[in-house]
Amino acid sequence: MRKGLVWLGAFVLATALAQAEVRVGVTLSATGPAASLGIPEKNTLLLIEAGKLDRMPKGVTVRFFILDDGTDPTAAVKNTKKLIQENRVHLIIGGTTSPNSLAMIDAVAEAGVPFISLAAAKAIVAPVDEKRYWVFKTPQTDELMSQAVVQDMVARGYKTVAYLGFNTAYGEGWAREFEKAAKAAGLEVVASERYSPKDTSVTGQVLKILSRRPDAVLIGAAGTPAVLPQRTLVEKGYKGQIYQTHGVANPAFLKVGGEFVENTLLPAGPILVAAQLPDAFPSKRVALTYIAAYEAAHGVGSYSTFGGHAYDAWLIARDAIERALQKADPGDLAAFRKALRDAIEGTRGVVGTHGVFNLSPTDHLGLKFEEAAVIVRVKDGKWELERSFR
């Protein structure tokens, strides 16, 4: 009994001494189908943890707990609960894919832990209800990106378009938002096809699209599996404009795509062409800093826009932690989680790699369309800024 008391005393003392520690839980899809998104996110957070990317918030140490969910929502929920209940984290970052993030909402809302998602779907943060009170995100919504694509298509005078996308949440989100935006803008969607990232042939889908003769085709896919449909389209003689999504914005896509993806158009966060942006573009400097640090660790050309989302989440978090520390003590778990949530919601003018974040009680993303999306062209195996909406 007495021994127990001694231990208890030691525990209380240790907790008191360690009060200047903020714990950040991370669950990402570093394996499984979304690995090409999750791995750069993980690398970015590891760089931050190692202090190679950004400073730590003043007055506290930050501890990261990074878990892999294998692109499985159930695993993401388990990870979330583990982080909240076992590691007693103050903040959760992650949820690489939309289903993973959506599945995590209940768990974080239940426990009252702020959560910054790295996934695209608008439904993750909108509408801000009782549960989404706790949920924020940094990536542009698929709705916002669809707007960029559709505006570009309209500007080029296209009338008929076709969609060929992943049979995953990513492809499905794009199908929904793109077809909605296209119809609203008067474009006719003549075909909407799906394929699996693991397919070895998409000839059937491509033939169907060709038979409808669209002016442009949008491929809703992420990473290198986006090459196969484009390659098949080109090989089967398609002459119209091919669009990709920001999901392909990584160097491997260019390498594997080669001549097949030349002249592709895609919407992307401005970070993808940071060096080509006018100096007045607000996120240019931050993006260049991030790219330099990431390339120093992982090689030239290795950066992707997804790592940028993770970095943006961290920038918002660091800023908010510093403000929350004035309101509450990290030792008081519930109070600090709440204070941190309030601080994140109060984020104003935090400049990230994808734009400037101005959050509010009704907007838990806080990006402006004009600053957060550009149209990029693949030219000579490089990303080239095609159009900015500013």
Partner: protein, 580 residues
């Protein structure tokens, strides 16, 4: 022991850290599926790659009803189980009759098809993005949001299902399901209808998975297709095999171990191998391989073999009621001009004979004489091309063994068709199946206790009659060949036979064993059982039988008392010719 475990389960949410409360809920969910697999794959021998699809059917049904129509999760549970039942019946009808590897592949096929539909029918299911904001389950207005509260719901339902399943497994149905896996012919010979028994096994396993799917949906309060994928189904199969797919406790062990392992690896692997790699899945695979190498039949059987065994007391009390109407017919079995040919080869040609009440009739002949075919024609395994078989005045030509066994026509097998994993007593109790009648549901609810006890007593008496009582609680696999033959006879006796068909009971026995067997058969005759004995051991048959029928090239060449037949030149010719 059980009480301690139950008490532990009751207080568990209050003594473990919160994350383990969550894990325990997932543990319960997994165990529900794995228990179903124990029944389906471990006992009935039907490997299923489709259990997660049934989880999805129930989970989505309840989720859609709650979100679209605002229906309470409890009604959702009923609807979910009903939907699972319908799906399981339809898919089961398509699946359980398939043979060999076609069956597991069929489960893969509809698993994949259902998964794609869940993901692609976006308008209904929300597609791969899934459905969020499901309502929590409420009990008397109290919402079970906390894993601690949900613990009681999940484990409560699991224990109910487990109890029902446990009772079923140890009932007449469970014994028959196990028998079916080893040997459908033997099971049918003792009154089981293999297709319907398989179908209901399939449905029961699916319902466990459905329950799990409902629990999952309202615990996570989000559904999308991925937890109901082929990969998920394979995970449950892994849990079942690691724990020991043939053992009940193994389901709990396998599900718990692998639910925990996944989490522990997440903590351990990055510590050992650094944070930047993603090696958990490799470690997971290697541990799985190592476990299989340590215990190929699963961990629970491996542990069980190292635990002391308790021998239960022999059953006592009243046996099953004997046949109601006395046997009055003088001629029990009449075979009339039966013919059977295989691909042009005439195996049995216009054979006629009859068996009289109270006698031992021997059917003999050299190898290839058509004895076995005749036996199969009488026992209902084969259908004669022509001719008739009558038993106790009723025509039974081509009727299935599970019907004729109820009339008192009971057989044994030449190569003992016993079930080595079951105890000697359980093997003998298979014989009581046609004499008992508790339906599946009654067995699951434990309403068959009296009948079960009586059946055990009956089977134990049969073992006493053949002299195997002291081995009643050993596994049948531990018996010698002679003892296995005795057990075959005991199982037949437990079915209360009017006419006992013995298929080469002496084959492969040593001289001493043969003498004991002959004495046993004679004693049975004295107790009033009529015996038809098929054998080619001239010496044994001649010493034992009252009358004999001799076959050669598919035809009857002699009939009469042994001494007369032995002097018959045609018989001598057939046997001597056969030797050289």
């Amino acid at each position: 022991m059980t009480a301690v475990l139950l008490l532990l389960l009751l207080v568990l949410p209050w003594i473990v850290p919160p994350f383990y409360q969550t894990l325990f809920v997932f543990y319960a969910i997994a165990t529900l599926v794995v228990l179903g697999l124990h029944l389906l794959t471990g006992l009935a021998g039907l490997t299923s790659f489709g259990q997660a699809a049934f989880m999805g059917v129930a989970g989505y049904t309840s989720a859609l009803l709650a979100l679209r129509l605002g229906v309470s999760p409890w009604l959702g549970l009923l609807a979910g189980l009903l939907a699972t039942l319908v799906f399981a019946l339809v898919l089961g009808l398509l699946t359980v009759r398939l043979k060999g590897h076609y069956l597991p592949l069929a489960t893969i096929a509809w698993q994949v098809a259902l998964y794609i539909v869940m993901g692609s029918w976006v308008a209904l299911t929300g597609g791969r993005t899934g459905l969020s904001d499901l309502p929590p389950v409420a009990v008397f207005g109290f919402e079970l949001r906390d894993p601690r509260a949900y613990h009681y719901l999940a484990w409560g339902l699991l224990l109910l299902y487990a109890l029902g399943l446990y009772r079923l497994i140890h009932s007449r149905h469970g014994r028959m399901i196990r028998a079916l896996k080893g040997d459908a012919v033997a099971a049918a010979s003792f009154g089981a209808r293999p297709p319907s028994l398989r179908l209901w096994t399939f449905v029961l396993a699916a319902l466990g998975a459905g329950l799990a799917g409902w629990l999952y949906a309202h615990f996570v309060r989000f559904v999308n297709p991925s937890p109901f994928s082929l990969e998920a189904s394979i995970f449950y199969l892994i849990m079942a095999v690691v724990g020991g797919v043939g053992s009940f406790a193994g389901a709990f062990l396998g599900a718990g171990l692998l639910t925990g392992l996944e989490q522990w690896l997440k903590d351990l692997v990055p510590l050992v191998l650094g944070k930047s790699g993603n090696y958990e899945v490799i470690a997971y695979g290697l541990i799985l391989v190592a476990i299989l190498h340590l215990a190929p039949r699963g961990l629970w059987p491996w542990i069980e073999a190292r635990l002391p065994r308790r021998v239960p007391d022999p059953p006592e009390g009243e046996g099953l009621p004997a046949r109601a109407e006395p046997v009055e017919e003088e001629i029990l079995l009449e075979v009339e001009g039966i013919c059977k040919s295989f691909g042009g080869l005439l195996a049995v040609n216009r054979l006629s004979f009859s068996v009289r009440r109270g006698e031992i009739l021997g059917l003999i002949g050299p190898n290839g004489a058509g004895k076995s075919t005749t036996f199969h024609l009488i026992a209902g395994v084969l259908r004669p091309d022509r001719g008739r078989v009558r038993f106790r005045g009723q025509e039974i030509t081509g009727r299935f063994p599970f019907e004729t066994v109820r009339m008192g026509l009971v057989r044994t097998f030449q190569h003992p068709h016993l079930f080595p994993e079951m105890t000697v007593l359980e093997n003998a109790m298979l014989g009581t199946y046609p004499r008992t009648r508790a339906p599946m549901l009654a067995s699951m609810l434990g309403l068959d206790r009296t009948e079960e006890r009586r059946a055990a007593v009956e089977a134990f008496r049969a073992l006493e009659r053949v002299g195997l009582a002291e081995k009643a609680f050993l596994k049948a696999g531990a018996l010698s060949l002679g003892e296995q033959r005795k057990l075959e006879v005991a199982r037949a006796l437990a079915a209360d036979p009017v006419l006992l068909l013995l298929d080469e009971p002496a084959a492969g026995l040593r001289a001493g064993e043969k003498r004991a067997l002959a004495a046993l058969i004679r004693r049975l005759r004295d107790e009033g059982i009529t015996v038809l004995l098929v054998d080619h051991d001239m010496e044994l048959v001649m010493r034992l039988v009252d009358r004999v029928v001799v076959m050669h090239y598919g035809e009857k060449i002699a009939e009469g008392p042994p001494e007369a037949v032995q002097r018959d030149p045609a018989v001598r010719e057939a046997y001597l010719g056969g030797v050289t």
